[in-house]
Assembly symmetry: C3
Homo-oligomer: 139 residues x 3
């Protein structure tokens, strides 16, 4: 049994930018030397979230509109008085969606569905440099 720590770094545009990180995650798992196990993806930060989705432009737009309806940007957030950076909605969305995702792999392949990609969603209100931690565990 082995533990291999990797990370993935990338730039985002912020404002609900949805990034497909599937190819990078698949590559890190393949390179790890671990055949069967899990990869835990974790976001070190409090204004972004992680999930899976069919990465198709119309659906990405539907997903973004859902956030605008359910946790709107243009309502008052007390947090915006704390730092004055106007990203109260970003934090609330991130805490709702969650910062971790654990995906099994078998024979070095992620057990994703055919129409299912791993996505990082940057809820912050400005472009950001981001880094995700990958903890690959197995044998």
């Amino acid at each position: 049994m082995t533990v291999v720590t990797k990370d993935i770094a990338f730039q985002t545009k912020g404002n609900c930018d949805i990034i497909d990180i599937t190819p990078q995650v698949a590559k890190k798992v393949e390179e790890s030397g671990v055949s069967n196990g899990t990869v835990t993806l974790f976001i070190s930060g409090s204004t972004a979230g992680i999930t899976t989705i069919e990465y198709e432009p119309n659906l990405l737009s539907d997903f973004e509109h859902m956030w605008d309806r359910v946790i709107p940007q243009n309502i008052p957030y007390a947090h915006n008085k704390t730092w004055g950076d106007g990203n109260g909605h970003s934090h609330v969305r991130a805490s709702m969606l969650g910062a971790s995702l654990t995906i099994p792999f078998v024979n070095k392949r992620l057990t994703l569905g055919t129409w299912q990609q791993i996505v990082f969603i940057d809820f912050d209100n400005r472009p950001r440099s981001r880094k995700i931690v990958l903890q690959i565990m197995g044998e």
Copy 2:
């Protein structure tokens, strides 16, 4: 330390069908030969989600109504123009709820509460054949 991969297959009715998979998960963990560790449940697909709930008919109905209010079926979804299969809401709900759940077990027993069951929710708009991956890891 061992990694044991199992799966659970079942039929659903779709349309927010909520399936209690606790007995099957408990059985697979018991049969795995692993005493202490975690089971990661993962949905290979993009129109279903996984969580825990008290599996009680009235509460299941409350949970379903929550989805109808928060991410309704009968509003426009751009995704419905992509494939024409009318399940835009199914995808958005699935991405919100999440595709993975990791549960510890101790002495071959899941650490669930007394009134807490593991549920698979099929958000798709038609009956489906489903399969969940279980990655059982521990010693």
Copy 3:
């Protein structure tokens, strides 16, 4: 590779009480003797949830108000007819947010961001004694 099971016990006030459990989790990981791996936090119960957030009073208030808007307490819940304990909203919120969170650690340190804390949210409508299971796995 080792599996170390720990737990954290505490009292809550209920009613969306948000408890910062970061120091306790960090301490348990440090004491475990495991250097690199993951800690899976799991809530044994069906009226509480777990996530990460910037633990800042104004943001906590924003997060609580989000729940009041999205899954209100003062609408009818069928579950309230089952047991008569008036916590239908607590269950629905808990199932939406999720009962598990898996966080990597490297050299005995959690890979949290600077402004990111681990929080337990008690959605129940009364004070509760709570216990979280920590499954620490790694080498």
